[in-house]
Structures are given as C-alpha cells and as structure tokens.
C-alpha cells in the first residue's frame, strides 16, 4: 500500500496546538522568575516572538515543498500570492480552500475562514470583542506590537500558561510570513489576522507600500 502523502487533519491540528502550548508555557514559566514590574508585557512580547519565529520556520520549510511543484518563474504577483495561499496553502494545512477571498485593487487582500480549524477548541467570541494581531514585517521584531483588545490588558486576558486565540493567530501569521517571503522576497507586505464575533477569522495580506 503506497503512502499518499496525507494524514488526518485532527492529528495535525492537535500537534500545532501542542506547539503553541509549548511556546506559551516556556515563556510564562520563565516569566515567573522575573521580578520586573512589567514582566507581563515582556512575557507577551516573548510569546509573540517565539510563536512567530516557529511559524516563520514552518512557513519557510513548507514553501520549499509547495513551490517545488509550481512551474513559475520569477517573483509572484500579489494576486498570485493570495490565490496560492487561499487554495494551495489552506488545502495543505487545513484540508480545505479558504471560504472567501476579498480584494481591493489587486493590492490588499482579505482571506476569510468562516470556521478556522485551529480555533475549534477555543471559546467563541462574545459581544463586540475582536482579537487582532498587527504584524509589520518591514520593521522587524522591535517595531511589532500586539493590538490591545479595546483597552483590555494582556495580563488579564491570559490565564496562566493556557494559550489564547491571539497565540493561534500570531503563529498562523508567522507561517504565512515564512511562506510568502519566498514567493515575494523583495516587495512590501504586511500580514495580520483578526477574529470577529461572528467567529470569522480574517487574514489580511496588505501589499501597499508603507508610508514612512
């Protein structure tokens, strides 16, 4: 019986959740040793870096496998990148295509997953709360921030070392960054993700040149 290159989606989802847990636990446990007053913010920043870093690594390695089979020359266009992510990458990682792909002037794309597989084990969002990441690849790590949830403090949002929605989004954005970096190495791109109260997860690929 030949191996057909597929495994069960639930195993892969469980593994990715364990990876996220591993990073969160590592940094929250280390953070407990710190006596600095702002250790909460430092923990959040380290978790962000750790998750994005591993996501980047996964995305870079995955791009080698996926792009190996693509008969394409030179750099991809923004629409090409977005279509590839919406179809090939989503199929590879989540077993399905993205539900909706919206765009504005072939330069700003929003990929909408109505029921993001990796958030299935997390509580549904209530009220007007929205989870958001803001990741600006152009400025590197030091300039990156985690958007506040309408003023909510990150420390009250996180209970101990249990992963939260944002951790999943940050990690997934990291994978996308690693994947797209290979396809679109010199162009400008910002990637971020939002989860709204309709349980829709949106991944934004913004190819507009940054205003310095």
């Amino acid at each position: 019986m030949s191996h057909n290159g597929l495994v069960s989606e639930s195993v892969v989802a469980a593994l990715n959740m364990e990876l996220i847990s591993y990073v969160v636990v590592r940094h929250t446990l280390r953070g407990e040793d710190s006596l600095i007053d702002n250790s909460g913010n430092e923990i959040e920043l380290n978790i962000h870096k750790g998750l994005e870093g591993l996501g980047l690594l996964v995305g870079l390695r995955l791009s080698e496998r996926l792009l190996y089979r693509q008969p394409s020359f030179g750099e991809w266009t923004p629409p090409g990148v977005s279509q590839f992510v919406a179809r090939q990458f989503w199929k590879t990682a989540f077993g399905k295509r993205i539900d909706r792909l919206m765009h504005m002037n072939d330069i700003y794309f929003c990929l909408i997953d109505k029921n993001f597989q990796w958030l299935q084990g997390f509580p549904k969002m209530r009220g007007e709360r929205i989870v958001s990441t803001t990741v600006l690849s152009a400025y590197g790590y030091s300039g990156e921030t985690v958007a506040e949830d309408e003023g909510a403090s990150p420390r009250t949002e996180r209970l101990g070392s249990v992963p939260i929605h944002k951790d999943v989004l940050i990690y997934t954005v990291g994978i996308l960054k690693g994947l797209i970096r290979v396809m679109y190495p010199t162009g400008s791109i910002e990637i971020h993700a939002n989860l709204n109260n309709e349980n829709e997860t949106q991944f934004v690929l913004d190819f507009r040149s940054p205003t310095a």
């Binding site: 019986m1 191996h3 057909n4 290159g5 597929l6 495994v7 069960s8 989606e9 639930s10 195993v11 892969v12 469980a14 593994l15 990715n16 364990e18 990876l19 591993y22 990073v23 590592r26 591993l54 690594l57 996964v58 390695r61 995955l62 496998r65 199929k91 590879t92 990682a93 989540f94 077993g95 399905k96």
Partner: protein, 193 residues
C-alpha cells in the same frame, strides 16, 4: 492475518478515507520544528532523555483527545481484551490518524502481556536525518506516537506502556514499538447487560 485483524484493517482504511486530510509534509515540518526547538531549549546538550519525556507527555495529551474521534468514527466496537486493544491501535488507530500500515504480533515471553507493533513508513520522519552523537543514540524522534497510544488507551481503561524498540532513523531496518499491558483502570460506572 486473522479474520478479525483483516476487519480491523478495513475499518482503519475506511476511517482514514472518511476524515478530513492534510499534507503529511506539513505535519512532518511542524513536528520537526517543534523537536528542534525542544532540543535547542535543553539546558544540558546531552540531556536528550528530557526531549523523549516531553514528546511522550505531549503525545499523551494528544491521544486523550483523539480517542473521542476514534470512538465516534472508527466503527470498531469497544475492546474487551488487551489483545484486541493492540490490534485496534496498530490496525485502526495508526491507519486512521497517521495513514500508517502497521503489523502487530504478541511477544512470546512467559508472563508478559506485550505486543510488537511494526511499521515501515513514518510520516513524522520525512526529511529527517539525525546527526551522529547523543541525538542519534538517545533520541526517540517519534516518541510522541508512544505517548498518543498510551494516552488514548488510558482513556478507555487500559493502562499501558509503549516504548520504541527500533527506529529507522537510528539505522534499524524497521520501526518497532513495544506495547505492554499494565492493568486496567477500575470502571467507576457499570452498565449491566
């Protein structure tokens, strides 16, 4: 292969085909990144056993979650004996979740209730080469599988121990897991039939 084993094998294949599937390459890459991170986090470089334990603990958590899907989708009735449980692990569980074709046979040692599970393909080990030294000698790269098996069996009342005996990443010709029965969890809720 016995008639029962053949039925189990068919059930495993059906369960795999009916579920959502994703790329084995993505799976292997994700796992590799995590193992690499665990190794990098070692305080002592030679403390490879710590990674083995972390992978086992991670696997137990995964196994305790997968057993629910197994119960719902596999179509295999609850196992009454450990021999049936070993068959179910090797012929249904590994096929259903990892798309692995495995064989299972009892170990012929007096006084043991133990089974050998062998498989040639390992989706976790795509693209992997272990460097000479402590990693190749002491790391059971796919130890998460042992944890998954023990975690899943624990949820249905079988106390078990699973360990790698042979690993193709170490130069062996086959991957082999030894599955030993350690007892049964007392059922706290009995339904008389």
């Amino acid at each position: 292969m016995s008639a029962g084993a053949l039925n189990f094998s068919n059930e495993g294949e059906k369960a795999f085909e009916s579920g959502e599937k994703v790329s084995a390459e993505f799976f292997a890459i994700t796992y590799g990144a995590l193992v690499q991170q665990m190794v990098a986090d070692l305080v002592q470089e030679e403390d490879v056993e710590v990674v083995n334990q972390q992978l086992d603990a991670m696997g137990r958590r995964i196994g305790s979650r997968l057993i629910e899907e197994y119960s719902v989708r596999s179509g295999v009735p609850a196992c009454r004996t450990f021999a049936q449980a070993a068959d179910a692990v090797a012929l249904v569980g590994l096929r259903m979740f990892l798309n692995v074709t495995a064989t299972v046979e009892p170990l012929r040692e007096v006084g043991t209730d133990a089974f050998s599970i062998k498989f040639a393909e390992n989706p976790l080990a795509l693209f992997v080469e272990l460097p000479e030294g402590p990693l190749r000698e002491r790391l059971w790269y796919s130890n998460v599988i042992c944890g998954v098996v023990v975690g899943a069996l624990g949820m249905v009342g079988f106390l078990a121990e699973a360990t790698f005996a042979r690993d193709m990443l170490r130069g062996d010709t086959i991957n082999e897991i030894l599955l030993c029965f350690k007892g049964r969890e007392k059922e706290t809720f009995q339904i008389e039939r």
